[in-house]
């Protein structure tokens, strides 16, 4: 059973969780962009995370609006190509999110 102080700390931690990164697809997008070290295409993100195009586009737009990722559009062999890259803000947000989730996990344990 959690003590009062633990419950208060837990409540505070839950309030600080980044809701944007709570969704596994958005977390996956950010982690993939960080681990790749370079830009990743829309198609590759969709395949790796096993999402539909529409759903992926929605998640990417939310991350872009939050300035966690940048987008670059170009043409390759007359075909449109959209690539995404993580921003410093995005990296920091992921770092903090994972740290917070780790602390929450320890508190609940």
């Amino acid at each position: 059973m959690l003590q009062v102080s633990d419950r208060a700390a837990l409540a505070k931690s839950i309030a600080n969780v980044d809701k944007l990164l709570l969704h596994r697809t958005r977390l996956g997008i950010c982690v993939l962009l960080i681990s790749s070290g370079g830009p990743v295409s829309f198609t590759e993100l969709t395949q790796l995370l096993e999402e539909t195009d529409g759903s992926m586009a929605t998640h990417l737009r939310k991350l872009e609006d939050a300035s966690f990722i940048t987008v670059k559009k170009s043409f390759v062999n007359r075909k449109p190509l959209t690539v995404f890259a993580i921003t410093a803000e995005g990296k920091q947000a992921v770092r903090e999110h994972l740290q917070l989730m780790h602390e929450l996990h320890n508190t609940v344990k």
Binding site: R24, G28, V31, G38, P39, V94
Partner: protein
Amino acid sequence: MDQFQKDLQYVRAAVEKHEATSFAPGIPVIWAFICVCGLTLQDIRPQAVSVYWMCAVPVGFVLSMVLGNMHGKGRAAVAPKLGAIEILHWLSIPVAIGLMVYIFSMRSAPTVMGAQMSLLIVALVYFLGGLHLNRVWLYGGLAMAAGILLIPFIPGFPFTATGIAFGAALLFGAFAKRPVPSYRDAASV
């Protein structure tokens, strides 16, 4: 929290899939072929080995760069900085071996050779550290490699020369204008 664990597994699976496709599969094939041929040649016709490696390594590098670039473009994941790191990382091997051949060709006394070999290993480690850890060490590695070339001209004091080269490299690294973050900072969480 169970859901979070499942989410982490989902993310981990995606990252592992990505890493499995992050290199051009032709590259290890090229180098496997080159090395098998080269080492076989060492057994059956050792006099041709030098010429073989001098031809095969540049060809292998060019092919690897072409394949790597094509693979990156195909995945829309061309990252010039990371590509440069890869090239410099693998180029350090033929450069180190080239310096080793130079050392042996000088027919130095064993103690001098020992100092040079030690310096070569340290130079390589510092160079790779400069690529992957902190750029400050890069210049140290290069300075120590230059020291290998100078040791034969100080025949009486090889270990002293080693020490001077090593110390100079460390001081150079310490007084570099600014510590440049390693390239890996951009890819680590």
